[in-house]
């Protein structure tokens, strides 16, 4: 409500102008203070949104990195059987104890790492019967299935690959027939399987399916 003072004596007008000016400035300062408060609230809100999005993004990345963990929750019937650490040496020892002709060697590959299990004959495919360690059972089981899918003509090789950092697959191939078969090894969560490493020196198995 602004008065134009035109109806007031000219003598009084400067005085009233001073009052009006003073009041206007105070109101402007209050409006600015309110504006600053709004900006502050907005800045805080943006900060929380940024923190929330970052947390969400990290969560999403974790979910994408460990998809097998997600799978476990979808299939609770698989059940948690054991939590064990297996090393390359343990697997190698178990394989060799059960089948003297079998051997595990590790080789480097430009794009991925793999452990190579070389077999001389079909007998090595029954490693699962004698190896006690669950990892070896699983590997052997997958090897059996993979080998069964490929005509058994020597020389035959079966390899264990690490796919997508955490997934193990057994791949059986026949160089003469050029046929191959790849089957997943159903460990549901593994860590320490870094891309570029050799066969992981330590594999933590939280869940597996026999």
């Amino acid at each position: 409500m602004r008065d134009d003072f035109s109806h007031i004596d000219s003598e009084l007008q400067p005085l009233l102008e001073v009052l009006r000016h003073h009041g206007d400035n105070r109101r402007r300062q209050e409006a600015l203070a309110s504006k600053i408060d709004q900006l502050d609230v907005s800045a805080k809100r943006h900060r929380w949104i940024w923190i929330g999005s970052t947390v969400a993004a990290v969560g999403l990345i974790l979910v994408l990195i460990f998809p097998l963990q997600k799978e476990t929750s979808k299939h609770p019937s698989m059940g948690l059987v054991a939590e064990s650490n297996f090393t390359k040496e343990m697997v190698q020892q178990s394989v060799q104890e059960s089948s003297p002709t079998a051997s595990i060697t590790t080789t480097k590959h430009p794009s991925r790492s793999h452990a190579l299990i070389e077999t001389d004959d079909q007998q090595d495919a029954i490693l699962a019967d004698t190896i006690a360690l669950p990892l070896a059972i699983e590997v052997a089981s997958a090897l059996q299935l993979a080998e069964a899918a490929v005509p058994l003509e020597a020389p035959q090789t079966t390899q264990v690959f690490i796919r997508e950092s955490t997934r193990l697959v057994a791949k059986s191939s026949n160089s003469s027939t050029r046929k191959s078969k790849e089957l997943p090894i159903t460990f549901l969560a593994m860590s320490s399987a870094n891309e570029g490493d050799e066969f992981p020196n330590s594999i933590t198995i939280k869940d597996f399916k026999l």
């Binding site: 409500m1 003598e11 400067p14 005085l15 009052l19 000016h21 400035n25 402007r28 600015l32 504006k35």
Partner: protein
Amino acid sequence: MNTHGFKQRILPLQPAMQRMAEALLHDEAMAEDAVQDAVVDLWMQRDKLDKVLNIEAYGITLVKRRCIDLLRRRHPTQPIDEAALLQTQLPPDDTEERYQQARRLIDRLPDQQRDALLLKYEEAKSNQQIAEQLHTTPNNIGVILHRALQTLKKQMQNPINH
């Protein structure tokens, strides 16, 4: 600089910024917009303001730039002497002194006349609002204000007797 510190340092600059904006724009409302824009600019830079040695000069320069932007927008076809505008000096300010003089006169009025006068001309309230605040009628407020102005006029014409 946190919000409290920002308010403490920037809000006292508002009268000078407003004066400068009015001197450049010759429009009170536009000047108010320019000052608000400049304060938002300052807020955006609040983390760097601690390093600014003369915050008043910095704020005034920001206001000048906002005024130049507004002038360009208002008269897009007219050339603007930006350098001259940036050189504009801050008009001298005696408003606080004049306000204190005015208050000395007003404070001599009877309480009701003084309150009504300040609510009307400083707080820019309507007679209706003043009447509600002083628990009387709008018509009575008109009479009180008339008497207050008459008394003030007499005081100004004959300050010795008052």
